[in-house]
């Protein structure tokens, strides 16, 4: 069975949710500890949401320098699929696996909402189960989720098809060009602010027109990794 690691840092909050989502997608979740140098031979890695190290210094900055991240950076360089969700996205930018950075929401407050997104790039390790241009709804919850990058970087991301998710309807945090998630040039590393792991189990996801809390659009993010690994 495909094994996907979820790293727990001090202050990780959605690590259990990420493990559940992996299980629901048909893979085996593996607990990985921030202080280790051992990825336990996993086939992919998720850096979960939370407030690692209390967001001290900058969100994700301290976690990006923890022992396990040395291994994550090296493995990502070898093509290992890596997904950073929310705080995990912040870590990926702090570790320079992805460009740009995340800053305080333009309206200044934490926001939790069911967010419409467009899947702009279905060619990555974490989005191949979607159709390009597909619209999905995934919960978003962050205080510092405003994506920023200089104009050249944004132009390059757009030009190279590395904008993976874009906010639709409402830009909830002031992200440049409504960018919700991006990929590295190989497409194996993806970071996004919304939380696909919270839209994987009927009864506990966002509302849909059919039934309360039944949205499971996030499940295909994790299924994509399985497909990518099978194809590799």
């Amino acid at each position: 069975m495909t094994r996907i690691g979820v790293v727990t840092f001090p202050g990780s909050l959605d690590d259990g949710d990420a493990r559940r989502a992996i299980r629901l997608s048909g893979a085996e979740p593996v607990r990985v500890w921030h202080g280790d140098h051992d990825l336990q031979g996993v086939d992919a890695v998720v850096l979960p949401g939370g407030f690692s190290y209390g967001d001290y210094l900058r969100c994700g900055a301290i976690a990006a320098r923890s022992p396990i991240m040395t291994e994550v950076v090296a493995a990502a360089g070898r093509g290992l699929p890596v997904l950073g969700i929310c705080n995990g996205f912040q870590m990926l930018t702090e570790a320079h696996l992805l460009p740009g950075g995340l800053v305080r929401n333009d309206h200044g407050a934490f926001v939790c909402r069911d967010q419409r997104l467009r899947v702009e790039q279905a060619g990555t390790a974490w989005t191949n189960a979607f159709a390009g241009g597909e619209e999905i709804v995934v919960p978003l919850k962050n205080g510092e989720g405003g994506f920023v990058a200089d104009a050249d970087t944004v132009e390059r991301l757009e030009g190279e098809g590395r904008v993976v998710f874009r906010y639709l309807g409402v830009n909830p945090n002031g992200s440049v060009a409504d960018i919700a998630g991006i990929a590295n040039d190989r497409g194996n590393v993806v970071g996004l602010m919304p939380h696909p792991e919270h839209a994987t189990e009927p009864g506990f996801g966002p509302d849909t027109a059919d039934a309360m809390r039944s949205g499971v659009d996030g499940l295909r993010v994790f299924r994509s990794a399985l497909a990518a690994l099978l194809a590799a």
């Binding site: 202050g11 259990g16 209390g54 001290y56 919850k141 909830p172 009864g203 506990f204």
Partner: protein, 775 residues
Amino acid sequence: MTSDATPTSTSTVHVDSVERAAATPDREQPYAALGLTDGEYAEIRALLGRRPTSGELAMYSVMWSEHCSYKSSKKYLRRFGDKVTPKMREHLMVGMGQNAGVVDIGRGWAVTFKVESHNHPSYIEPFQGAATGVGGIVRDIIAMGARPVAVMDQLRFGDLADPDTLRVVHGVVAGIAHYGNCLGLPNIGGETVFDKVYQGNPLVNALAVGVLRHEDLRLANATGAGNKVVLFGARTGGDGIGGASILASDTFSAGGPTKRPAVQVGDPFAEKVLIECCLELFHGDLVEAIQDLGAAGISCATSELAANGDGGMRVDLDAVLLRDPTLTAEEILMSESQERMMAIVTPEQLEGFLAVTAKWDVETSVLGEVTGTGRLEITWHGETIVDVDPSTVAVDGPVYDRPVARPSWIDALQADSASALPRPTEGGELREALLALLASPSLASPAWITDQYDRYVLGNTALSFPDDGGMIRVDEESGLGVAIATDANGRYSLLDPRAGAQLALSEAYRNVAVTGASPLAVTDCLNFGAPTNPEVMWQFAEAVDGLADACLALEVPVTGGNVSLYNQTGSTAIHPTPVVGVLGTIDDVAKRIPSGWQDDGLNLYLLGTTALELDGSAWAGVVHDHLGGRPPAVRLEAERDLAGLLAAGNDEGLIAAAHDLGEGGLAQTLAEAVLRFGLGARVWLGDIEERDGVDTATALFSESTARVLVAVPREEDVKFVGLCAGRRVPALRIGVTDVESGTLEVQDRFEIPIEELRAAHEGTLPARLGARVGG
């Protein structure tokens, strides 16, 4: 005792040891400045047979404070324990008196929950006050051996139009969001009320829920001589010291720290790590007991652990890790620094214990050990500065029977009924009144607030705002879960505190029932004015008595809670505000009932009957700025029947949606149910008017209790009507869902497009507080 202590810093630090206290009986002590009365000070001297040391005085002063000792309320709180049936004890694993009550919910699972106040700190420093309120109640939950799984907040602010309200709301909401979100606990509901009576004294209550396996239950008792007393978590600093600063400056030399912030400062990251650390200690069987450090800090933790145990305790304050090395012994004893826990650990467990705290980078120090002496002995700089019977500090504090007087004004207030107010009859006026209520600050959508709270984390939230109660899955295998709702109505409680408390219980009980869960247990947070005012004491006594009676009638035990007195600015007390939380169980959260409909053509039934009960109502308040008369009749038997019907109907799959009728009556309920999924309905009121003999305004705005609106699939209609008849619950078909119409239509009266309803409901808070994201 030989004094071999070497005062660390300077010779100005002298130790007021037990020996010195015995030798200097006449030394003046600042007991009055610390809040102790002449009588209490004399009692302490009698208990000890000498004057207390300054350390002992510090301990007694905080532990005998109203906040810690419940000295004014204890007499009445006993009634909760007196009025119980065997059925009420059946599921109760731990009752009042421990950090939080614990209830057996079946399949080997238990739940612990409690609501507590953090009112005064939240007015002085709204952000930190509210944040540490969340932190404190969560530590109570951890101390029982449980994993915290959700929080809720009961908020009462002043007039939304008052500029100072903005300061308090922004600070409190951001503080709760900051702390709760960083802890990774979903916020699953709560209350928001705006009323000018809370202008100078907002109420910030926080509720937390935790789950545990039966075998993981821990009581905070220090037993077993030789076991270690361990302090772990954040370091002890000078924050949260109120009276101690007076003591310090009065008794000790100048130059030491004198001015300390009286409001604690929270660090949710430290608490999150502490949660994981404690759970790993519990599950590894590396600890006997854990007590949280909240109010009164080390004074409280040591004396309560020892008093609840079977022996004594010896602790050395020099071993306490400090943020500020200049703190005096008295300050260390009284500090309320957050994110600290005290554990009782056997010598065999100690190595494993320290390995776990090291893994989580949690600082730990062994302060002393459990003894067989029956005394709590505390040393500092080599001298004994505290030597007391811990029970006298923690358990057997003073109990007051304060004067009680029925307020002279209450007869006149009760005579001033809202039934004399002009009621609208024309469709246009009725429509306007509905929209005015829907947009009024306390009935308007609190989404501006709840959007700032994470409701998804942990992945077990089955219901949250805007449904009537919050619901959490406990067991992933079976879907077993719990629902929680809280309520309080200060307006009703002012008119009649006994009925007000019972109505709060009725509403919370009903809110749990409409989610599909069965009510099981109660927690309360009793917010009142100053107990020295006999009229306030009367309100308190009435409310407690009423609540205890109603709990008995509904057979739901009070498992714990909190009393908050002195909620007043100047001579004007807040409305009596007994917040009541009800917890219920559901065997599979997949069966939960939403508060609005998603399908066309469902039949809408009003369960229960409507009377002319507008006294204290939202309609009287919003439309006429009126408060007088008597609150709606308390109908506990009808509430029970209704809850039973909802459970039975839900088991048979007959109920597609259910929404409670409360403040604002049927009008508010219809509007909220339509707005839940943005799908319309057509309603007629003629049958209610005819059966119950009421006018249209009463049918729409009366707040008669024991009523629920339910949506029933057409094919289940016959079964549902039969079920209601069999269970003696009055049911009247009053409408049908209509997803095409895009309106709420009250036939022959008025029609309101859903977008107009939404604008009224969702516009109020953002207009004052700032734009809502996506709103």
